[in-house]
């Protein structure tokens, strides 16, 4: 019985959001407000359950003296972060933000270098002639040409004229094909989401299918 009522609640919210397709209306606005308000609370609860409690409180309780001494730093920085909410002490929050920004930048550089730039360049260095494998030869040519012409299109320190211009214009064609593929996949994804919601209404709520 409880589940039935809750399915109706879910159906109400689903229809309320869908009603936006007709036009903006109070039902949609209510559903939107509930969504924004409750997800903010959800994030707060999440922070408690997966960060504050296990990584601060429990770690403090279970930790040795050294553990606790080390733990003081991140706990202090986390409290600094919350100083953002107090206008007079707002500047202290920059210390915490500076740490997250520095870490983010360091992690970004490390990941992109080791995990993207180097292996991707390696991946582009492929043999352009493979004996007895015509198909792979052609594929390798397409991959190398696609990559190089695309990069040349984004190379702005040289005028796109003459041979270089032709090269970069080929790049645009590859880019368009790539965007076309992304576009096709995006339509597929959006339609799937709608199928999911309509299936919920027909199956879980109305029981028609």
């Amino acid at each position: 019985m409880a589940t039935t009522i809750w399915v109706w609640v879910a159906a109400f919210f689903t229809l309320a959001i869908l009603s936006f397709l007709y036009k903006d209306n109070p039902f949609y606005r209510i559903a939107e407000s509930v969504y924004v308000g409750s997800s903010a609370a959800y994030m707060l609860l999440f922070l408690w359950s997966f960060d504050v409690k296990p990584k601060m409180i429990d770690a403090w309780v279970k930790g040795s003296t050294t553990d606790r001494l080390i733990l003081i730093i991140p706990i202090t920085l986390s409290i600094f972060m919350l100083m953002r909410f107090i206008p007079k002490l707002r500047w202290i929050s920059r210390w915490a933000i500076a740490f997250t920004v520095g870490m983010g930048a360091g992690l970004g550089v490390a990941g992109l270098l080791q995990g993207f730039v180097v292996p991707q360049i390696k991946g582009t260095i492929v043999p352009l002639w493979i004996a007895n494998n015509f198909k792979q030869t052609i594929n390798n040519w397409i991959i190398v040409l696609g990559t190089l012409t695309t990069i040349s299109y984004f190379f702005f320190s040289r005028k796109h004229t003459g041979v270089f211009g032709k090269f970069s214009r080929t790049g645009v064609m590859f880019i368009m094909i790539a965007f076309g593929a992304t576009f096709g996949f995006t339509i597929m994804a959006r339609v799937s989401l709608l199928i999911g919601r309509l299936y919920f209404l027909l199956h879980d709520w109305l029981g028609l299918i």
């Binding site: 969504y35 308000g37 919350l82």
Partner: protein, 261 residues
């Protein structure tokens, strides 16, 4: 000092991570692990940085009885109801997502999930409407985009290949028509010749292409994704990656400071 200390913190933390990448041995590996652990703790708090302004803004609207204030009130009420529910659930079951938690089994499943997923399902309608109004084969490049998108859409679904012949047929007819009108209005016969040749080429490859798409649908899909479109994606992402690395280094070395304002 209000600027220097944060810049030093940024430099030290960022450099520690980069050094640890090249020298993973002690003490750098250990420093990296510790810094990562701190980052795990602190970065969680960035999730709630917007909370203050969200609640403050809406509370203010309710106080002033500004237009749409009942919605702001709904927002604030749902924030507190959800919060209290979550706290009660946590106390009763030990964890907010315990398998017996009513917060997970009712609030999350029947309120949060339908709201969030329906928000995104709306996009299907808008993309369909855009397909009808906005996607025009104005240039050769736009045509390439549309044809690739259509082939991908039809090879991604079962039985999609059955409509491949008419779809590509109409596309080819439109292309030939456009090319022929260019041929007609060309200044001289030689200037128009490429249009004529291209039209003939389109007619000539139509049947073989349709046949390949119809009989080897999954192989064609695999080839487009893994070969034809992949090079351009790699090129684009290499550009973005190099830009990202440059930006990261600028931040670490204190050249980029916008995060301090």
């Amino acid at each position: 000092m209000k600027r220097e200390i944060p810049m030093i913190i940024t430099f030290v933390s960022g450099m520690a991570i980069i050094i640890a990448l090249f020298v993973p041995h002690p003490p750098f590996g250990r420093v990296e692990e510790t810094f990562n652990n701190w980052y795990i703790i602190i970065s969680g708090f960035t999730m709630i940085l917007g909370l203050n302004s969200l609640l403050g803004h809406n509370l203010d609207k309710v106080k002033r009885k500004a237009e749409g204030w009942p919605y702001s009130l709904t927002l604030i009420l749902s924030f507190f109801i959800t919060l209290i529910w979550g706290i009660v659930s946590t106390i009763r079951t030990g964890h907010i997502f315990a398998s017996t938690s009513t917060f997970r089994n009712y609030y999350y499943t029947y309120v949060f999930v339908p709201l969030q997923s329906t928000m995104f399902a709306l996009l299907a309608f808008f993309i369909a409407s855009a397909a009808y109004r906005a996607f025009r084969a104005r240039t050769v490049n736009a045509t390439l985009l549309l044809v690739t998108a259509s082939i991908i859409m039809l090879t991604q679904v079962p039985k999609g290949e059955t409509v491949m012949a008419p779809v590509l047929g109409v596309a080819a007819l439109l292309a030939v028509w456009k090319l022929m009108s260019e041929f007609e209005s060309a200044a001289s016969w030689t200037a128009g010749l490429p249009y004529l040749l291209l039209s003939i080429a389109i007619v000539a490859v139509y049947l073989p292409i349709v046949e390949v798409l119809r009989t080897q649908t999954t192989a064609v899909n695999d080839w487009i994704m893994n070969v034809l479109q992949m090079g351009a994606k790699r090129g684009i992402w290499l550009g973005i990656a190099l830009g990202g690395i440059a930006m990261g280094l600028r931040i670490i070395f204190g050249i980029e400071k916008s995060y301090l304002t």
